[in-house]
Symmetry: C2
Subunit: 168 residues, 2 copies
Amino acid sequence: MPTHFQGDLQTVRALSAFINLIRASDSTITKTTAHLEELGVTPGQFAVLEALLHLGPMCQHTLGEKLLRSGGNVTLVVDNLERHGWVRRERQVNDRRMIQIHLTPKGRRLITRVFPEHAKMVVKVMSKLSAAEQEQLRKIARKLGRGAEELCTERMKREKEHDNDQTE
Amino acid sequence: MPTHFQGDLQTVRALSAFINLIRASDSTITKTTAHLEELGVTPGQFAVLEALLHLGPMCQHTLGEKLLRSGGNVTLVVDNLERHGWVRRERQVNDRRMIQIHLTPKGRRLITRVFPEHAKMVVKVMSKLSAAEQEQLRKIARKLGRGAEELCTERMKREKEHDNDQTE
DNA sequence: CTCAAATGGTTCAAGCTTGAACGATTGGAT
DNA sequence: ATCCAATCGTTCAAGCTTGAACCATTTGAG
């Protein structure tokens, strides 16, 4: 696509980087989650299980922040994980609004077994890049991701202030 | 997440690069497609309209390949675009299996108007990176994307051969 | 204390996404 | 000429994803 767009250098450069970023992300996700299908684990479910394994129990709201997913989405995915008996909900006593999500023993066994396979696939896909390239990618992608997040929060802040201006 | 996983250097490096790639892609997509909502254009629809604008009319199968989407998905998205009157289907006479998708004048006006806004957003998000970083990102992401695609086609080829072995 | 705002979770409608099963069409092998 | 396999599009079930409306709970201002 980008090669067929005529525009100034800055725009072409940004669009080219953008399209290749998206496609790389798309392809690597597809590739590295293919093996989950057979187990009946969806990518969204895997992400939750992995977060719980490596970060410990947490409430749904936190989970949504970590995984960049909406509240409604977390509810659904946790519902499905609960149906499988891989996690359990635990209403907090000190703040009854919150529900902490815990791995069940069954869920822990599953993710402990599946995660190494996943890691192996990631290493395999990434091995198309040299160690130095992987490091560069990590740094640049991190910087870009942070930047985009900031743009979002900045905009939200501006809109909030604007709302306040109007209601005052 | 990656910082909480203990493993060998190679694996940590690959996982770190991977997670940052995914998150960068996620954040930039969210950011650059936010303005489409107001117009009632979904990201999937935008992608199709853009491909048709910059690459010309093409059949659904080609569209799916270009956008890395399944056949069923293309059918649905084109259905929705057709409902809006932004594209039209044209059954090919030389091969009646194929249906070529064309922008309507209305669709062309829409994407011609919307694309520059989109490009502007991409430039804005990407401006968090220097020109050199954008170039590096493009190169590395391209290499990685290509590599992942190859892994997929290789695997499919192996499975195909394996099938043949069994049926012979 | 009281009540309004904020917060956490659920539900819903709409649409995306996939893989599989299916029907129509085509092309090639015999 | 016939028929089988490949190709293209459609349909379907299942699940993901979001934003908005909604309810319960908590917090803080007065």
